[in-house]
């Protein structure tokens, strides 16, 4: 762990914090300059049955009577200290609402990512070892095929096939192991297609490199070549791709939750949008930004550790030159 790396890590961490804060402020400003006044329109909705006095109390409690910059300052300092405010709809702390649904979504997204990685690896492995006549082309078509199918369609097909036809899981019990697994499969397939696409292209590229031929000239077989030589360099760009698909996993899990009838962040978003529960929405959008930035930060910090070629400091790397050559007394002496 060199000094240069620590400096780099500190810099990237600082940038990440700034991005998260900007994302929070941006969401806040967008919400507060939206035309109309969603807050009071919710409160004054006769269906909700608040009295004028209650409305005034809620507005005072939420600090909505203060000027926008003050509101922003209060919200931001709350956000930084972990206080996400109160839900306008249920009058419970936003953090509690999120904490209730977050584990379910994290399990789904994590399982989805795991499915995506395993599937992508299998497909990429297959493109190297399945002979052309036994369907290598089909495997190579996998990424484009599944990128073009939306994950709710995959979800519905899976529910129909494994839920209704084969009876592996019951739709009314969405948190069972099998139900979670198939939800993860539905979520993971489109993501795995993206990863597989990059992985296959990189494996093809690496296999054509001279070092692969030279390794084979040392008697290395295809399997060892794949595991020892091709997989690591081909997987490095995948780290970046995974970081970028996190957004997809989170967004996709909202849809998948709906299709599989799971309670999660997705259902909370749905409820909050329909009831215009702004503090909850603000918190969830900020949470999304935090997750996305964190995952990409991890990818950035990991990359120099995984790839020895990546030099951290912006300066030009010093190429070894001929002056590093040994003078080689022995060879000269022997050659006539």
């Amino acid at each position: 762990m060199s000094n240069a790396y620590l400096t780099y890590a500190a810099k990237r961490l600082g940038q990440a914090v700034v991005v998260i804060l900007l994302a929070y402020v941006f969401t806040f400003v967008v919400v507060s300059i939206l035309p109309g006044d969603p807050i009071t329109s919710v409160l004054r909705n006769p269906q909700n049955g608040f009295s004028e006095q209650e409305i005034a109390e809620i507005i005072a409690a939420q600090g909505l009577d203060k000027p926008v910059p003050v509101q922003l300052w209060n919200a931001l300092s709350g956000f930084l200290t972990g206080d996400l405010g109160m839900s306008m709809r249920s009058n419970r702390p936003v953090s509690t609402l999120i904490a209730e649904v977050l584990p379910s979504t994290l399990i789904l997204a994590g399982a989805g990512l795991a499915v995506a990685l395993v599937l992508a690896m299998l497909v990429a492995y297959g493109t190297r070892f399945v002979p052309k006549k036994y369907g290598q082309g089909l495997l190579r078509g996998f990424p484009s095929l599944f990128l073009s199918v939306p994950n709710f369609v995959i979800g519905l097909v899976l529910i129909h096939l494994f839920g209704f036809q084969l009876g592996l899981f019951r739709v009314i019990n969405p948190d069972s192991f099998w139900a979670t697994l198939f939800a993860a499969v539905a979520l993971g397939i489109p993501v795995s297609a993206q990863i597989a696409e990059v992985l296959i292209a990189n494996l093809d590229k690496e296999a054509e490199q001279e070092y692969a031929t030279v390794a084979r000239s040392r008697g290395i077989g295809q399997l060892k070549l794949f595991i020892r030589h091709l997989l690591k360099p081909a997987s490095l760009p995948v780290v970046t791709v995974i970081a970028l698909t996190i957004g997809e996993l989170l967004g996709g899990s909202l849809i998948t939750e709906t299709v599989f009838g799971r309670t999660g962040v997705g259902s909370l978003v749905q409820r909050s949008v329909s009831t215009q529960d702004l503090p909850v929405l603000q918190a969830i959008v900020s949470l999304g930004a935090v997750v996305f930035v964190l995952v990409n930060l991890i990818a950035d910090l990991l990359y120099p550790l995984l790839d020895p070629r990546v030099k951290i400091l912006g300066g030009a790397k010093r190429r070894p030159t001929t002056t590093d050559e040994p003078s080689l007394g022995s060879a000269k002496a022997v050659n006539p």
Partner: protein, 577 residues
């Protein structure tokens, strides 16, 4: 003529003697070997034999099929490649063995040294991990012994600090060190045959000599047969017992090195011989001599280019690196000045300063009497009109989506020279000057050969009618015969248009052929400079002498070369008397 006859009798004597003696079975024998990629046949009916402990060189230009033969011997052809005929290795037919039986031979019995050391080791794994793969072929069960074996081998191939090399990643070593590693890995399992595919073409000239010396030494010490693939006739004749000259996948000529080299019988082998700069230092004497006369009269006229005490320092990893250190030279109009040196010697930085792409820290540079220092980009443009660059690699320096006409015309459009009709005429004139016809105007680079591309690049630099052209290794990406064409074009243009060239190269033989004056650079400094003939015949600096010794001159027997050199020298004295 008499010597020719003597040679022929000698040759026939050699032939009969080899026929009479009972011959041991060769280690490697190719018989009617053909390789095709689909309908495209790249190797046709090639046959040769390589005896135990002997060396054989396959010589040819790109596309001659020489590397394909190397890969066919190792059975490492790409999937699309299909080989027919026979390749017998130690009594087994390599081509018909199933992969499972052939694989144990790879590495163990047949070692491979690749062309480009920089791309031949896995960049994300340490040297040690990859060396262990080679060490595993020795069937030594103890890992500690295997590692000791690797370190021994590294020392044997001349790597100073084997343990450091073992723990390094490929990018942390220089090209020469990597090639040593690769040779070490290839010989470590003690193969009977070593296939070396252009093992030095990516290396500097002094490193090239050391690597070839190493290969020769190992070949003798370890009793290995060497199949050397090269495009350089001089290298091949220095290092191999037998030569096989290939063109378009077919054998043009084959035989003992002394015979093929000294008295080539095929037209192609003769042309190859004539195109090697090291073997024909005075090939372009007629075209170059006017420049020498200008040089002699130069004292009275101001120099076209003047570089005065220029220094440039970069900061790398927090340390100051003086890339160019107090460099001065002057180039009289109409002559060629060569900057020679190995990678990292400061040649490239010097021409970047000369082109105004970087500012020197100290010193100044003037081109055609105009001082470059302190000029804005806009003011530099007026200098650039008189100062053009021909870049090293024509395969990457031309926009592949542009036509030849647009490529050559672009500078005229940028500088708004004349009317559009005049520009068209100038484009045609520039193309005619480099020997390209109008029918190429609508072609794109992909439809041109390497030599045509470099001609287009030269035409592009000529079209503004500059006084000075900076040539940055203009032939290093080209085959030797194409290189000869380009050199001829450059020299005739100089004679015709009075151009001044700054020629950057690591190829001293080429410099000897075409330059008038030369500066030898080492670690940012000019260690020796002067008239090219003086420097080459009588180097004062030890480094210059090392560089000159490293030029492969063919048949490591100096007595053959000496009379010729003396004759040339005498000739020259007469010319300038």
């Amino acid at each position: 003529m008499a010597s020719q006859d003597r040679l022929n009798t000698h040759l026939s004597a050699v032939k009969t003697s080899t026929l009479e003696a009972p011959r041991p079975a060769p280690l490697l024998r190719a018989k009617n070997l053909s390789v095709s990629y689909g309908a495209n046949q790249v190797v046709r009916d090639v046959s040769f034999e390589l005896g135990r402990g002997k060396s054989l060189a396959l010589i040819g230009e790109s596309g001659s099929g020489k590397s394909t033969i190397a890969r066919a011997v190792l059975r490492l052809l790409p999937d699309a490649g299909h080989a027919t005929g026979h390749v017998d290795f130690d009594g087994q037919d390599v081509l018909s063995l199933p992969e499972r039986q052939f694989r144990p031979l790879r590495g163990r019995a047949i070692g491979f040294v690749p062309q480009d050391p920089g791309n031949s080791l896995n960049p994300v794994r340490t040297i040690g991990v990859q060396a262990m793969e080679a060490a595993a072929l020795t069937d030594e069960p103890n890992a500690a012994v295997r590692k000791a074996l690797i370190l021994d081998t590294f020392a044997q191939v001349g790597l100073d600090n084997p343990l450091r090399v073992y723990d390094s990643y490929p990018h942390q070593l220089s090209g020469g060190m990597l090639q040593r590693v690769l040779i070490g890995l290839a010989v470590l399992p003690r193969p009977a045959l070593l296939v070396a595919d252009e093992p030095t073409s990516a290396l500097d000239v002094t490193i090239q000599k050391r690597i070839l010396d190493l290969l020769t030494r190992l070949q003798h010490d370890l009793d290995i047969s060497l199949l050397l693939i090269t495009h350089d006739l001089a290298i091949a004749s220095e290092r191999a017992d037998q030569l096989v000259v290939l063109k378009d996948g077919a054998v043009q000529e084959a035989g003992k090195t002394s015979a093929v080299f000294s008295a080539p019988s095929s037209a192609y082998a003769r042309k190859l011989h004539a195109d090697v700069p090291a073997l024909n230092p005075e090939r372009y004497a007629g075209l170059r001599n006017p420049g020498f006369r200008l040089l002699d009269g130069a004292a009275s006229t101001p120099a076209k280019i003047e570089v005065k005490s220029v220094t440039k320092t970069f900061t790398v990893d927090g340390k100051a690196l003086t890339a160019v250190d107090d460099v001065s030279f002057a180039v009289p109009a109409g002559t060629t000045h060569a900057l020679v040196g190995e990678s990292g010697s400061g040649k490239t930085t010097t021409i970047r300063l000369l082109l105004g792409l970087d500012e020197p820290d100290i010193g100044n540079i003037s081109v055609a009497g105009e001082d470059l220092s302190g000029r804005s980009h806009k003011q530099l443009r007026s200098v650039w009109r008189h100062l053009q660059l021909v870049y090293q690699n024509p395969f990457t320096s031309l926009d592949p989506t542009w036509t030849v006409e647009r490529l050559v015309r672009e500078p005229l459009d940028r500088f708004k020279v004349g009317t559009p009709a005049e520009r068209t005429a100038q484009v045609r004139e520039a193309l005619a000057n480099v020997g390209l016809g109008d029918h190429l105007l609508s072609r794109k680079p992909a439809a041109l050969s390497g030599g045509q591309r470099q001609r287009v690049a030269i035409a592009r630099s000529l079209v503004l009618k500059p006084d000075v052209i900076v040539l940055d290794e203009p032939t290093s990406a080209l085959d030797v015969s194409v290189q000869a064409d380009i050199v001829e074009v450059l020299l005739s243009l100089q004679a015709k248009l009075g151009l001044t060239y700054v020629f950057v190269s690591h190829d001293l033989a080429l410099v000897r052929q075409l330059a008038h004056t030369v500066s030898v650079m080492q670690r940012g400094r000019i260690v020796e400079h002067g008239r090219v003939t003086d420097i080459f015949d009588n180097p004062q600096n030890a480094y210059t002498a090392t560089l000159l010794e490293s030029i492969p001159s063919g048949l490591s027997n100096p007595s053959q070369q000496a009379p010729q050199r003396q004759a040339v020298r005498a000739e020259r004295r007469e010319a300038f008397a």
